[in-house]
Symmetry: C4
Subunit: 214 residues, 4 copies
């Protein structure tokens, strides 16, 4: 009786998905807000303008990295909800905590690009990414335990395995990449970016890879 | 005849829900906009960077508190619309006034964290939260009176009771917490935060609590 | 043949409605971004803090006015789409131009509150509102001409009459209110705000008014 | 087996469309954030206020141009998804890269309006627009190759031809416009704006043009 309210709360998935897309959309454009057109009093030549533009490149790269990271987690979140058809109060809150760490990504990314040679900045960035992975993993296993997933038992086992392997694999890779900062911070960053691009750019082999499943 | 326009207006619930999710998503990320990467001209050691990062902690906590508060009201709003299937012009406006006080939460939260020892800051924060509860309560009772709710009479009575109890209970708790500021402002804040977390972290007992309803 | 592309473009209404809700949600929170917590170095008493808070009141009022104005046009837009079930390329662009003038409302409102005694500021605000009304009117008549509306001929005539009367009536009222600025700017503003509230607060008589239509 | 995760990811189109609308909505209002009400200490006459307002005109025009550009690509994106009914991981990422260049439009537009006489600024703007066209073209052809499109073969051929012709035609026009900057930058800008308006204002002949398709 006491938990009556908690039992009626948060049973739909549409609202979760809409607010997630909203937060992701804002987070994706947050670093753009920082890229201001430089105002120069006197501007003589095309060369000078090009030079001024190049000073923006670090911010553009930071924006690019943040966007890719967010894209990876948006895609992962979207994939889970392809199969989740019900929800409850707790699942709502797991999603909200996920969003909490999503909306902080532009900050941790900008922090990393500002202090690229510091282990502490790499640590904060790594922590953010690892937490997102953990929450997504918890999210799926909670949905699974509560029978919110619209899959046959057999399919479910396969999808669950694929999702868990992905989280485990990527967490290990990110941790390895972060640990490289004890050898060389630049190497660490390069490996981290390479891992990100790898997850995004399964895009590259689009046209020559045959699809094997239906 | 005169009210012809008012009678045709605002009959769907989808638009209300979409704009609510939009406003919530923005409000949830508003305080993130304030967390800027600190720029230091010279940065010698990891220790210094860690110190600089720690100066951001109050802003991060303020962001966290604001996010939790917004999450609580987003979940409450979402829960009501699980059962509301029709709408009219007035219900739209009740929602808009709800959103008005939602979008101001990041401000009242930041105001509270800046002036944490002042009764006036606690009062403003308390007022904001109480108004949100009252509007949600009005929202449900208005929807109920106009038969916008898709529940059998019996279920409706139960849900209505649960919603009203929740609003009353939380309003009393918040008021009690706010009144503690006459004894000690820090105690008051602590109790307020504890109440918030309690409503969010019905999350904690996720895995050991058996679900009693279907 | 030449217009082939234009003929396949923009046939759904869902995307229009989603982007509209997005732009409205952002516009509604735009002025909140301006309300910063005042930072005071020394803060002695509750009285001082209250005083400082009161300096924010003009910004809060400006935010409130902007919100109400946006709410009125969001509700009007939502109402039209309750009946519009198809779309084409042109209707998409009418909506985009509508959004152009929606997103500028926070600016014209803030401009008005900053220069409240100036006819020019009242004129800009009035122009913004009148243009929104005109575009909404064009929107409905265009949708009507192209048979995008899901109503019987009889119902359509009634709804069209109600929509047109509302646009005409409100445009006249706003114009009258704006013209009062030649007598006294404060009177003009007061009347404008009163007209806004009147359209929003058909809310007030919620509980004592019997609904006459089904 | 290895690609198991990639094969289950991103199969729905709703999430893509929602996040796209979110990013577009934010990008559309981004330049509005830059238009601040000018604060004047002493303000004597209506004339002075009008003068001050006129200093905002370049920003308003920049906002207008950015909005139109975004509107064109939003409409094009929306049109493609009218026919695309399935998706996969890769299509999600093509969309994300599309959004990356969408969210940067307010910046490239503002950059252009600040440095309107510079070939470099025109080049950056042109590059942004061309990339958006190319990605949209890739988007359609990828969706087509993977049979994500809900059209009969015959209809598909027609729509594909229309989409490709539109991308090719507009890319050529924009390139021509940009090349004019070697003769005269103002001429180049004027032609670019004219091309934009032409794509938006197929709006103009609304009322006198008969629709030829059903």
């Amino acid at each position: 009786m006491r938990n009556n309210y908690n039992q009626i709360a948060g049973q739909r998935t549409t609202r979760i998905e809409t607010i997630c897309d909203g937060v992701f959309a804002i987070a994706m454009t947050l670093l753009v807000l920082d890229i201001k057109v430089p105002i120069a009093n006197k501007m003589g030549s095309e060369k000078e303008l090009t030079k001024i533009f190049l000073t923006l490149v670090p911010k553009l790269l930071s924006y690019f990295l943040s966007f890719i990271t967010l894209g990876i987690y948006w895609a992962a979140h979207s994939t889970q909800f392809h199969f989740i058809e019900k929800s409850n109060r707790h699942l709502n809150w797991i999603n909200l905590f996920f969003l909490l760490f999503v909306s902080i990504i532009p900050f941790t990314t900008a922090f990393l690009s500002e202090y690229i040679t510091f282990k502490f900045a790499i640590f904060i960035y790594w922590l953010n990414i690892i937490l997102l992975g953990l929450i997504l993993s918890l999210h799926w296993s909670y949905a699974n335990k509560n029978h919110f997933i619209s899959l046959s038992e057999n399919e479910n086992a396969q999808v669950t395995k694929a999702i868990n392997r992905r989280v485990l694999e990527s967490s290990l890779l990110y941790t390895l990449g972060a640990l490289l900062s004890f050898i060389n911070p630049y190497l660490s960053i390069l490996v981290l970016i390479f891992i990100q691009l790898n997850y995004a750019l399964a895009l590259l082999p689009i046209f020559w890879k045959r699809k094997k499943t239906k």
